[in-house]
Amino acid sequence: MIKRMNHPAWFFTPYVVLFSTFIIIPVIIAIFLSFTYFNTIQTPTIIGLKNYIELLTRDEVFMQYVLPNTFRFAFIVGPVGYLMSFILAWMLAQVPHKQRTILAIILYSPSMTAGVAMGVIWTVLFSGDATGYLNSILLNIGLVDEPIQFLTSPDYLMTIMIVVSLWGSMGVGFLAMLAGILNIDQSLYEAAYVDGLKNRWQEIFYITIPSMKPQMLFGAVMAVVGTFQVGAIGVQLSGANPTPQYAGQLLVNHIEDFGFIRYLMGYASAISVVLLILIYSISKATWSLFGERD
């Protein structure tokens, strides 16, 4: 049997079937449903662009909170997490193997924590009464007089979401960038200094980044995707969807709110499509920012 398995179809069919069934087809269905009214009980009725029009013109929560929140969250967590990953990778590459391995494992470990149970850890650390660890410290050193409602106050929720997300942002992209730097040919640097390279900054911009551009790009895509994927965190932290006064409401939560709480599947699908388009455009923009224009 194995002796006669020559046709490429033997190799790609399983992947293509699963990939189509669970990625391509759902995306197509989402696009279709976004043009319908669908409450999960009756069959979907086509209503044209109504969902999108409603989303863009009448959904006040979307325009006032969800979209601005998503952008604020994404434009901080994405670039800062990416920059942090690069700086840490760059430094790690310049220490010996053993120390590097230990530090890299520690820095990568948050991206392996997951799930609702993890949300509880943050709830305890940021708890709104004096038994919360952060509050207890702040009260102790006298920075505040009474405990801050970190997780239920709209003023703090977003900040904490950003901190928690940044904490877990050293993922696959970070590892790729670290490997990328480690693989740069050392002699490039020596040659560049002979040619008149003056300082560390020039070194980073003329040698390091160009030499690991592919990994930089991979890291960027992973950063964008990762940023939009962790959206559920606001709901986990505050324990409610919608989050208090929509302070931590991101696109992903808005989808869940309409899809699984209000059962307006057509409308939820329209939000999904907007999310996918958003991720795609931002990735493409990042691409052209870093990508080679040859």
Binding site: P8, L103, I105, L107, I121, V124, A179, Q215, V225, G239
Partner: protein, 291 residues
């Protein structure tokens, strides 16, 4: 200026010039490690320490009570803890092995075989690197209903197997293997599948280990499958059970210790596997670039 010492990649040993990096890296690592240290410490706290005011970060008199409660709460609801654990192990083993096999065969075809639509497949897969599963939760659910996969072990695994990132990483890795190796095996009469199993798999094992780790994290931590696609409580996984603890313990302070124990149990296998395979992962990542 000419005497300026340039970047030294992967130095062999410690040198005082590295101190500046440690000054940044070590505090950073400590900051990152704090919540994880907290999970470990909290998981072993007895009730009186969970309630303690002012709260203490580290445990003083460690106890296994929280882990014991994790068992008893499950048993009380009729599904023993070991059942969830058993389900998780089955599903994870199935998911990791299928994912490694499916992505590596596909990666081989993309890298070394010729067929119609190959370029398009690679392009679509690259596009899917940006795919966010959470955006299509609803249509995925509808697809699974239509296929009649609800309430099977497969439904906990199948949606997670095709990983665009995995295919991408393995494909880039296989690209590095010389074609001569494959050509000479063909002259000896080996079929493509034999070449793949006997020559390619041993060479690309670092990439396979990486896909394995990624698949492990995905399947082991997955809650959506158990929540949406399975109605039979006896088929649900540990990750699902952990996600319901908040409701089961009524979000009490005592519950926090149990949740910490749960977090620790779900985190440990991830980190242990990563520590063992990190060398291979780094090796794979060196070829990870998007060109």
């Amino acid at each position: 200026m000419a005497s300026f010492q340039g970047m030294k990649i992967n130095p062999k040993q410690y040198h005082p010039s590295q101190i500046k990096f440690y000054l940044f890296l070590i505090p950073m690592a400590l900051f990152v490690a704090l919540p994880i240290i907290f999970i470990v410490s909290h998981a072993f706290k007895p009730t009186n320490e969970l309630f303690a005011y002012p709260p203490r970060f580290l445990v003083r008199v460690p106890t296994l009570n929280n882990f014991r409660d994790l068992f008893t709460i499950a048993n009380q609801s009729g599904i023993p803890f070991t059942r969830y654990l058993f389900n998780s192990i089955i599903v994870t083993v199935l998911g990791v092995s299928l994912s490694v096999f499916v992505t590596s065969t596909a990666a081989y075809s993309l890298s070394k075989l010729k067929f119609k639509g190959k370029k398009a497949l690679f392009e679509i897969n690259n596009l899917a690197l940006m795919f966010v599963p959470i955006a299509v939760t609803i249509p995925r659910y509808l697809t699974i209903m239509q296929l009649g996969l609800v309430d099977t072990y497969f439904v906990l695994v199948l949606p997670l197997i095709a990983m665009p990132v995995g295919l991408f990483l393995v494909k880039q890795f296989i690209d590095q293997t010389p074609n001569e190796l494959i050509e000479s095996a063909k002259i000896d009469g080996a079929s493509e599948m034999q070449i793949f199993l006997k020559i390619i798999i041993p060479i690309v094992s670092p990439a396979l280990a990486t896909v394995g780790i990624l698949a492990f994290q995905l399947v082991w931590n997955d809650v959506i499958g158990s929540t949406l696609y399975v109605n039979d409580e006896a088929m649900r996984t540990l990750a699902f059970y952990f996600s319901t603890l908040g409701a089961r313990t009524g979000n009490t302070v005592a519950g926090q210790g149990i949740m910490a124990a749960a977090s620790l149990i779900s985190f440990l296998p991830n980190i242990i596997i990563f520590i063992f395979l990190q060398g291979k992962v780094m090796n794979t990542m060196a070829h990870s670039g998007i060109k």
